[in-house]
Amino acid sequence: MSQQEQLTVERAAEALRPLRRDGERAARGSLRAQIARLERELSAIVADGFPRLSPRAGIGPADSLAGPAAASGEPFGGPRLLGLEQLELMRDRLAGRVQDLRHREQQCVERQQRAHELLERMKLEPARYKFVRLPVAELGQGGCGVWEVRPRLGLIGMLAGWWQLKLSSGCPLERGPRSRRGPSPRS
């Protein structure tokens, strides 16, 4: 390449530098917009899915930025202006979490749907589901109750084939079960 041509190439590169800088800045702006959208989506999934989904669900070793820095919440070593590559990594990581949470949410919904169907069947034909237990938590309801198919009148019901669906009374007492001991003997 002649000296004249070399000079022309350098001038062209010089002239293009601000354009490339502007282009990179625009790309970073676009990535930030994508991150903002994904963050809002993530927040909506977590808020709508609570308490089925833990707010920290999806943060773990599968994370592409896993490591001690990520565990401290500072995957890039504290607050800083992120470069194109770091923003891309952040965007991809967030997109992964959104996808993962959507998948978990979908699984939860399906599990609850199956539990509701099972409960309906247990109501209709209790004799076919002898001693089957279904915690209300699996139906997406709060509390500690459990639906269970039990024989009516104990052994008699078992022998006669009288089965019924019952809901247990709920959460255990904070102080533990009530004492079964009788009153203390008088001295």
Partner: protein
């Protein structure tokens, strides 16, 4: 008073703004001592505002959501290193209320919970010029004291005319935090894109009014 923002920071993070104001503490007693009855009453009142489901829903409210997005933009994970408002609400749930931690801490907490905007305080007499946001340079330290820790280059900091005095959304420089007997404070708040001006001003004024009352 609006603070300054380094050009490269302003260009990369549009909407980022630092606001500060100086406060003469008129309350009697120490800044780290027990809060007066009106402040404690306000904390109790705010405690009843948050319950379990509300705490998770906070992240969808416009102002806390804006801080979450900003955290992502500066490379912080708000699900691990919580935004100030989410950290405060989580503490309230774990401890059963917004417990008093001393006059200044309580006033800053009230401003935060009321508006969603975090407010910090520095000892005004230790500042040299107005506060602003910039990235730290090579071989800089956090603060001017002998025990100032070294800062890695490129970290976003709150600085005065010469020295970084706080990490953005992080700790204050040793030697520049208000002491129990400090009477002049520089309160500052960080506004990010999506947070209306009125919230930031309200947060600073809440702090000012609470401290300037005799």
């Amino acid at each position: 008073m609006p603070g300054w923002c380094a050009r490269e920071v302003e260009e990369e993070l549009p909407g980022l703004r630092l606001l500060s104001l100086e406060v003469e503490v008129a309350r009697r007693g120490s800044l780290t001592g027990a809060s007066p009855g009106d402040i404690q009453g306000r904390l109790r009142e705010l405690s009843s505002r948050y319950r379990g489901a509300t705490a998770v829903g906070v992240r969808r409210e416009p102002v806390p959501a804006a801080y979450r997005v900003f955290f992502r933009h500066i490379g912080l994970d708000p699900d691990v290193m919580r935004t100030p408002i989410e950290a405060a609400v989580l503490e309230r749930l774990l401890r059963g209320g917004f417990l008093s931690g001393g006059l200044l801490e309580d006033v800053l907490l009230i401003a935060l919970v009321d508006t969603g905007v975090p407010v910090w305080a520095l000892a005004a007499d230790s500042l040299e010029g107005p506060l602003g946001v910039r990235a730290s340079g090579e071989d800089e330290r956090l603060g001017r004291s002998a025990r100032a820790p070294a800062l890695p280059a490129g970290r976003l900091v709150i600085a005065d005319a010469s020295t970084p005095l706080a990490i953005l959304f992080g700790g204050l420089a040793p030697g520049h935090e208000p002491a129990a007997s400090t009477r002049r404070l520089a309160l500052f708040a960080v506004q990010v894109a999506g947070v209306p001006d009125v919230y930031v001003e309200e947060a600073l004024w809440t702090g000012r009014l609470a401290l300037e009352q005799p």
